[in-house]
Amino acid sequence: MLAIQLEAEQFEPLSALAEWHQLLAARLGIRPAAESHFVGRVRPSGANDAPLTALELEHYPGMTEACIASLAAAAAGQHGATAVLVIHRIGLVLPGDAIVLVAVAADRRGPAQRCCQELLEALKHEAPFWKREWSQGVGSWITGNTPL
């Protein structure tokens, strides 16, 4: 069971998880025994340590959603996860705001944790998103990912 959302506005990860739990209960009748969650937020400073005004996230409409769904399905299949939720911000994101939420439900903690980590890394490297840091009125495109 996959749930994929691109959000143009600020979202609250705990509220999103609560809604997902309701969806899981409605669809599955019972919530799976194990869950793993990851929340990524915007740092207060950019790559050059200057204070960050905002982080801009560009995507490729259509391809990005399809890529996330494909990556989520592959990771869930490989690890035997029951359900996956991915919420990813697009547009301007302020420091401290959530960029990404990955949640995985499974029957055991191992598959849930491994699937969550693997899917997050796949999103970072395989889903077409591009980040631009805005600081003091200047935007700089980021050409890589932070270390694991």
Partner: protein
Amino acid sequence: MINLPLQAMAVSTDPASQVQVRLFAGLREAMGWSEQLVELAPAAGGNNTAGPTPEQLWRQLNLQPTNPPAGVRVAINQQFATWDSSLAAGDELAFLPPISGG
């Protein structure tokens, strides 16, 4: 949308003979455009002749640098593809700068 005439391309404006080329993020801003319709040259040897590759269109469109950087990827019809894939009329080709999601 800009329709840029290129030397090696046909004069037809039939959408069925075009490839839509898209740029994103820093690549788009460096080149100053986001989308172009590119006319495919008519196949000299008939319909069985392979279409141009993304690498050929990169050079044809004068994208910089001349040799595509290692971190840039291509997608055809919103699926990752290789630089030597053969393009067909009606395809959507995207040049994707290094990805940084999550």
